[in-house]
């Protein structure tokens, strides 16, 4: 390889060919021949080798982040509070959501985006509460991305000042990396999962604003230490807020609803600020 510009031919070659050329291929032995244009591109541009380096500094998540920004702007303009609910499968996300919707019933406009790999079971459960819901099946995908959510937003009836719940695919790993344009990320941890989950899956706990500890009605039957779970969550995210609920018995749901109300007021104030600009 040429050490001057990195191209793949030698600028000068000196051959000492002791063999004769009775064999099939052709050499050109013009003294000091230099052949440009023999590289893959088959062309030569003065001052430029055929292999070149391009510095681009492109964010790999750039496309997703651009869609997320679009979603966020649309939601903010309508004063919609969007929550991205993430958890492992079976933490009780859908049950929590159903119980929340029943209690919000008619007082606050709501909408739901349900993410799963397959089936519309969850969207069906949500629609039974009367809330508009759209199911997004990711197929083999392990998370929702901002593009999918953007399309769901086109189809959902979104009233001004409503709460939009986005139930992500049950997975404590991949959804951490994908901004959907939500205002708040909520991670749900059930007490049957073990208090070290925040340390085993730190990214998702680090990126969440609120941790809901669910299934607290089962605590008397378990060795689960609530203090240790909260301590572990705060180790990866000192700012995370924590609520304890049992979606099944309703214990703690009032606190969660009050929290939602506060977040909705903040969002509405933000929307008014936008409108005033």
């Amino acid at each position: 390889m040429c050490t001057v510009c990195g191209c793949s031919h030698t600028h000068e070659h000196e051959h000492q060919h002791g063999h004769d050329h009775g064999h099939g291929h052709k050499h050109s032995h013009d003294a000091g021949d230099i052949h440009f244009g023999e590289g893959a591109a088959g062309v030569s541009v003065a001052g430029m080798s055929q292999t070149r380096l391009i510095r681009i500094e492109a964010d790999i998540m750039g496309k997703n982040d651009a869609y997320a920004a679009q979603n966020r702007a649309l939601l903010a303009a309508k004063g919609v509070l969007a929550l991205n609910l993430v958890s492992s499968p079976g933490s009780g996300k859908t049950t929590l959501l159903v119980e929340t919707l029943k209690r919000l019933g008619g007082k606050v406009p709501v909408a739901v985006i349900e993410g799963d790999q397959e089936t519309s079971n969850d969207a069906d459960r949500i629609r039974e509460t009367g809330a508009p819901a759209i199911q997004v099946n990711t197929g083999k995908g392990c998370h929702l991305d901002a593009h999918m959510v953007g399309h769901a937003l086109e189809k959902l009836p979104l009233e001004d000042g409503s709460v939009l719940f986005i139930e992500n695919v049950g997975n404590l790993v991949c959804p951490a990396g994908f901004d959907l344009g939500e205002a708040i990320k909520v991670v749900i941890l059930s007490v049957t999962e073990g208090e070290d989950k925040p340390l085993k899956y730190p990214d998702i706990f680090a990126k969440s604003d609120l941790m809901i500890l669910n299934k607290t009605d089962l605590l008397p039957h378990l060795d689960f230490c609530v203090g240790a779970a909260i301590g572990n969550a705060r180790r990866v995210n000192p700012k995370v807020q924590v609520l304890q609920v049992s979606a099944r018995t309703g214990e703690g749901l009032e606190g969660w609803l009050a929290w939602l109300e506060g977040a909705l007021k903040l969002q509405a104030a933000g929307a008014r600020g936008l409108a005033a600009e």
Partner: protein, 113 residues
């Protein structure tokens, strides 16, 4: 395996860049993957080879660089190196660390023909 979708994103960027910078083939892609970016380099490598098959970057070398992760200690207010999100401050032992870098997911450089 969201590393697969990251590779799809990389391929999209390469295709856009190929039009902008007029190249037909990519022989090396150099990326920065922060240690706290929720990406497993080995899985990314595996996904890269699979996703690039049949594209302008088939057979390209993926060069993964790992910039160091740093955090601000909320107790002693020093910026300290960390390996994991739940590391303690190496200076004062506090657990209250706020990560400030290490989440990078960037394409830095392409070698193209």
């Amino acid at each position: 395996m969201h590393e697969m979708s990251l590779c799809e994103s990389i391929l999209d960027i390469l295709k856009d860049q190929a039009v902008k910078d007029r190249f037909s083939r990519v022989t090396r892609v150099s990326v920065d993957i922060g240690p706290l970016s929720c990406v497993e380099p080995e899985a990314l490598q595996f996904g890269f080879d699979a996703v690039m098959k049949g594209s302008l970057a088939e057979g390209a070398v993926l060069e993964i660089k790992r910039p160091p992760a740093e955090a601000l200690c909320l107790s002693c207010f020093r910026t300290v190196p960390v390996k994991e999100r739940f590391d303690c401050c190496p200076e004062c032992g506090s657990e209250a660390l706020q990560v400030v870098s290490g989440e990078e997911l960037k394409i830095r450089e392409l070698e193209v023909v």
